[in-house]
Amino acid sequence: MPPREIEDEGRERRSYVIGLVLALVLTTGAFAVVGLNLLSGGAALAGLGLLALIQAVVHLRYFLHIDLQRSHRDDLLLILFTVLILLIMVSGTIWILYDQHVRMMP
């Protein structure tokens, strides 16, 4: 293999390893928050949500190789658009069903 390819492969391999290590740390952290009762109530839910968000970004960045600078603009736009749709549908569903639930209270 030419030296440039060896260098390239090293860089790409490093990306997967960094992704794995970060994901392991974040996953273990999230389970530790609940398993060891580090946080409770709303703080626990907020902390877990934040850890999940960071881990999703880590997976996208290091496993799916998507970043803000070098990725194809179409791919990135599609992700952002999908996230927008997801937020509208998920928050809308939860809001409407909660409202209905409250109205159904005896």
Binding site: E5, D8, E12, A30, H59, S71, L86, Y98
Partner: protein, 210 residues
């Protein structure tokens, strides 16, 4: 910098296979559109679950009474290492086109994935037989089985796809179509791991924490 020229999500072939790299752009963008619409499907199931796990308990058990966090943690690790192993299979394909190497990493990926599905089925078995928590017990449990079951079905179809790709790698070798199919399977597999982050956080951890 050969790596700076990135045409699509996932590992790019720039640097080792310029022709395949060109061909990959359109094909992988199409598959990326499918993945994003698949995410919308999961998002709706998540939203249903979020409402049902709070307001749909009825006479059935609560989330914290039926979930086993140790099993969920092991499942998370299995899927994560499976995703990582697929990444190494793709590197083996890109830089060496070594059939043996790719097949070994694919086999490891598949075994970890199969272990994941097996553990989930075992979870269902324990929940139904020991906790009296079948899907029909409450809205919460219906939504739980629907969400995790849809994910498990995705993983299972990924495993079938993986077997087909292993056969193609062994018989056909690394032609451009075979490479592009492997690259799409890699995107699919990594994306299922991203969906699982949502499941272990919002289903298992939220269920036990709240």
């Amino acid at each position: 910098m050969s790596l700076s020229e990135r045409l699509h999500p996932g590992l790019n072939l720039a640097g080792t296979d310029p022709e395949g790299h060109e061909a990959a752009e359109e094909t992988l963008f199409g598959f990326w559109i499918f993945l994003m619409s698949d995410l919308v499907l999961f998002a709706v199931l998540f939203a249903t679950y979020a409402a049902m796990s709070v307001q749909g308990i009825a006479e059935g058990p609560r989330p914290a009474e039926v979930f086993d966090l140790t099993a969920a943690f092991v499942e998370t690790l299995l899927l994560l290492f499976s995703s990582f192993a697929f990444g190494l299979a793709m590197l083996e394909m890109k830089y060496r086109e070594n059939r043996r190497g790719v097949l070994v990493w694919l086999l490891l990926t598949g075994l970890l994935g199969a272990a994941f599905v097996g553990m989930e089925l075992h979870d269902y078995y324990v929940m139904i037989t020991q906790h009296a928590a079948p899907p029909q017990a409450s809205g919460f449990l219906s939504a739980y089985y629907l969400l995790t079951g849809t994910h498990a079905l995705h993983v299972s179809s990924g495993l079938v796809w993986m077997v087909i790709m292993a056969v193609q790698v062994a018989l056909i070798g690394f032609t451009t179509p075979v490479k592009l199919r492997l690259m799409r399977l890699a995107l699919f597999w990594h994306m299922l791991d991203v969906v699982w982050i949502g499941i272990f956080t919002f289903v298992y951890l939220y269920g036990v924490a709240s």
